[in-house]
Symmetry: D3
Subunit: 162 residues, 6 copies
C-alpha cells in the first residue's frame, strides 16, 4: 500500500473523519442502485399498490429520502452535509422477480453524495422488506453498489461491471 491508504485512519491507525478543509466546494452527484428479490406472489401484491391496496413503494421512497438525509448520523465517519436533491426510483423486474431501487443525490460540498446515495437505496429496500415480511420471509436484499458519481477530485466514476 503506497498511495492507496485508508483515508479514514490517521498515521496511528485511529479512526478519523477525513479533513476536507482544503478541498473546494463543488457540485457532486451520486447514483446508487440495489435490489430486493421477492416471490411472484409478493410482487403482485406490491404492484396492486394503489391508494386502495397500500402503496409499498411510496412508503419505501420516503424512508429512502429521509435516511439519505441522515447518513452522517448512521455512518460514523461521514461528514454532515446540506443537500440539493434526493430522489428514489423503483423498477419492477417481473421475470425474476425483483424490485430495483435507485437513489440519486445532488449536493454542493467538499465531499459526499456517494454514501448518501447508498444509504438511501438501502433504507428504501429495508422498508420494502418490512412491509412485505408478513407475506414472504425468503426475500433477499442485494446488489447494492455505486452506479455513477461526478464532482470532486476523483472525477467521473461509472460502474464498469453492472
Amino acid at each position: 500500500m503506497t498511495n492507496k491508504d485508508f483515508t479514514h485512519f490517521d498515521a496511528g491507525g485511529n479512526a478519523i473523519m477525513v479533513d476536507v478543509s482544503a478541498k473546494e466546494v463543488t457540485t457532486r452527484t451520486a447514483v446508487a442502485k440495489g435490489e430486493i428479490t421477492i416471490s411472484g406472489e409478493t410482487l403482485q401484491a406490491i404492484r396492486g399498490g394503489t391508494a386502495k391496496k397500500g402503496d409499498v413503494l411510496g412508503v419505501a421512497r420516503i424512508a429512502g429520502i429521509m435516511a439519505a438525509k441522515r447518513t452522517a448520523d448512521i455512518i460514523p465517519l461521514c461528514h454532515p452535509l446540506t443537500f440539493d436533491k434526493v430522489s428514489i426510483d423503483f423498477t419492477i423486474i417481473e421475470d425474476e422477480p425483483r424490485i430495483e431501487a435507485l437513489c440519486s443525490v445532488k449536493l454542493s460540498g467538499k465531499t459526499g453524495a456517494e454514501m448518501e446515495a447508498l444509504t438511501g437505496v438501502t433504507a428504501a429496500l429495508l422498508t420494502i422488506y418490512d412491509m412485505c415480511k408478513a407475506l414472504d420471509r425468503a426475500m433477499l436484499i442485494g446488489n447494492i453498489r455505486l452506479w455513477e458519481k461526478t464532482g470532486g477530485k476523483s472525477g467521473h466514476f461509472k460502474r464498469a461491471v453492472l
Copy 2:
C-alpha cells in the same frame, strides 16, 4: 390474497404501524446476515486492522449496533422498542474475497427483532464500504437476509436456502 394480506396497511390501503396491543410480550431473537464483496487488496488492508493500522471492522461493528438501536427511526412503520442485546460479528472469506456480517438481536416485546437485525447488518456493511471506498469503488453489498428468528406468534424461522 386471503390470509396473506399486508399487515402494514389498513382496509383502506393506508400505511399504519401494526396494532400489537393484543400480543403478548415474549422474548424474541433474530439473526440477519449479509456480505460485502471486495478486492483482495482491500481485504488485506482490512485484515491488517490492528490498533496500528486502523480497525475497519471495529468501527463497522459500532455502526451496526447503533443503527440497530435506531431502527424505528429509519424504517417508517417499525415499533420503537427496548433491547436486551445487540451484537455484530464478521467472518472473512478469503477465497472470493468478501466479508460476511451477522447481526444478532434479542429483546422482550410484542413485536420486533427481525428488522432490527437487518438494519444492524446493513449499517455495518455500509460502514465497511465507507472506510474502504478510497481503495476500491467496485465493492458490492448483498445477500442481506433473515437467517433465524425465534419468539412471537410466527415461531421459529430458519432460512432454508442459504
Copy 3:
C-alpha cells in the same frame, strides 16, 4: 391552585420529567385531531393524488407516524415510550375546503399517548403544508386538539366541544 398544580415543575419551580414510577402500566389510547384550510384549487390537486399525480396524503401519513414515535425527542418533558400502534387518517371536507387529520395512538405504559397523538397529527399537517406551499401560501393549520383518551388514572376523556 390547590389540586390543580403544574406537574412538570418541582416545588422550586424547576422543570422536571414527571415521576411516574409509582403508576401502573396500563393500556392507553389517545386520538387527536387537527386540520389544514386550503384553497379549492389546492384541494383538487391533492385529490388527484394517485400514483400518477403524487400522493400528498400518503407522504403526510408517514411523516405523522414517524413524528409520533419521536415525540419524546421533540417535546422536552415527554417520557420515551414503546408503542403498540400509531395511525393517521385524513378526511377531506370539500365545502370549506379543508383536510382533517386524525392521529390514533395505542401503547402500554405508565403515561403517554396524548402528546404522541397531538405530535403525529401536527407533523402530518405540516407535511401537507410543505408539499402544497408552491401552490398556496395562505394555508392555515388549526383546530389541533385532544379528541379522546382512555387508560391511566384520569380515565376516559371525550372532548365536549368539537
Copy 4:
C-alpha cells in the same frame, strides 16, 4: 394546473426532495405564527412563570428552537440546512385568553426558512400544551400560518389576511 404544479413530485408522481442545485444561495428569513387557546385559570398559572413557579414559556421556547433546527428530520421532503438564527417569542392575549407564538428563522441557503419557522412555532405550542395538560384538557392549538418571508426567487411574502 399549468404553472401551478406540485414541486415535491416528479413527472411520474413520485415524491422527491426538490432539486435546488441551480438556485443561488441567498439570505432567507421567515416568520410563522400560531396560538394556543387556554382557560383563564391556566393563563394565570403560566403568567406566574417565574423561577419560583416554573417557566412554561421558557421551556416551550427551547422546544421550538430545537425543533426548528430538526425540521428536515421531521418533514420528509425538507432539505437539511445550516441556520443563521432562530428565535421564538410569545405574546399573552388576556381577554380571549390565549398565547400567541412567533418563530423567526434566518439562514443562507438555496431554499428554506418557511417550514423551519412553522415547525418551530408548532413545537413551542405543543410544549405549552404538554406542560399545562394536567390543568386543562380543552386547550386548542390553531391559527398556524406563515406570516412573512423574504429571500429566494419568490421574493417578499406578507400575509394579507391576519
Copy 5:
C-alpha cells in the same frame, strides 16, 4: 482479571451491547453529579437569571433532561430504555465560584440509569458553558461522577469519596 472482566466485549474482544435478557426488570435509580468552575463575574450574570436577564440554568436543565433521554443514541453500547423520571438540580457555590449540577434518573428496566444520569449532568454543564462562553472562556467542567445508585443485581452504591 478473573471476575472483573469487561462486560462490553465478547470472548473474542468484540464490542457488544451486553445481553440483559436473563435479568429481571427492577426499579432503578441513579444520581450523578458534576460541576462547572466559572469566574465570579459570570456567576453574577447567571444569578441574575430571571425572566428579564435570561435564565441560563433553566435552559441547561432542559438540555440535561433531553440528553438523558437520548443516552442510548450518544453512548454506543447503552441499551435504549423507557424512563420513569429525570430531573436536574443546580447548586450555586459562591465562594469558589462554581455551579454544581445533579441529575437524578428513575426507571424500570433490566439495566440502566447510571449512564443516563451521567449524560444528563454533562449535557447540562456543557449548555451552561455554551451560554456563558461569550463572557468567560476559562470555564472548566469537572468532577463528573456517579453519586448514588439503587436497584439491579449490584445493589446500592453510594460514593465514598465525595
Copy 6:
C-alpha cells in the same frame, strides 16, 4: 455588565440562537481536552485493548466523533453546521492513572467548532466510563476545557492555565 452581556438572550431575557447572518464564513478550528481518572487495574485492562481483549478507546473515539457531529441536537442554542474534520486522540498517563482525551474540530462557517470539540471530548469520556463501569465505579471525569481556538471575530485563543 456593559459589553459583556450574554449573547444567548435577547433584550427581554429570552433564550435565542444567536443571529450570525452578518458574520463571514471563515475556517474555524477548536481543540478541547478532558480526562477520566481511573484505577490502575482498569487502566491495565484498557491498555490490553487489542482486537483480542476489546478496544475501549476505539469505541470511545467513534462515540466522540459521532457526538461532535450532533452537537446542535444536544446543546439547545448551538447552530447546526457542516464539518470539515473531527478527530479524537487519547493519551494514557500511567502515574496518576488517567486517560486524557482531546477532540479537534475544523469547519467553515459563521460560528462554531468550540462546543463541537467540547461535546466530542465529553462523549468520548462518558463512553470510556460506560465500558469500564463493571470494573470500577469510582471513576471521575473532569478537566473538560477549551484548549485552543482559531478563526472568527474573537481570533486566536490559547488556554493560559493548563
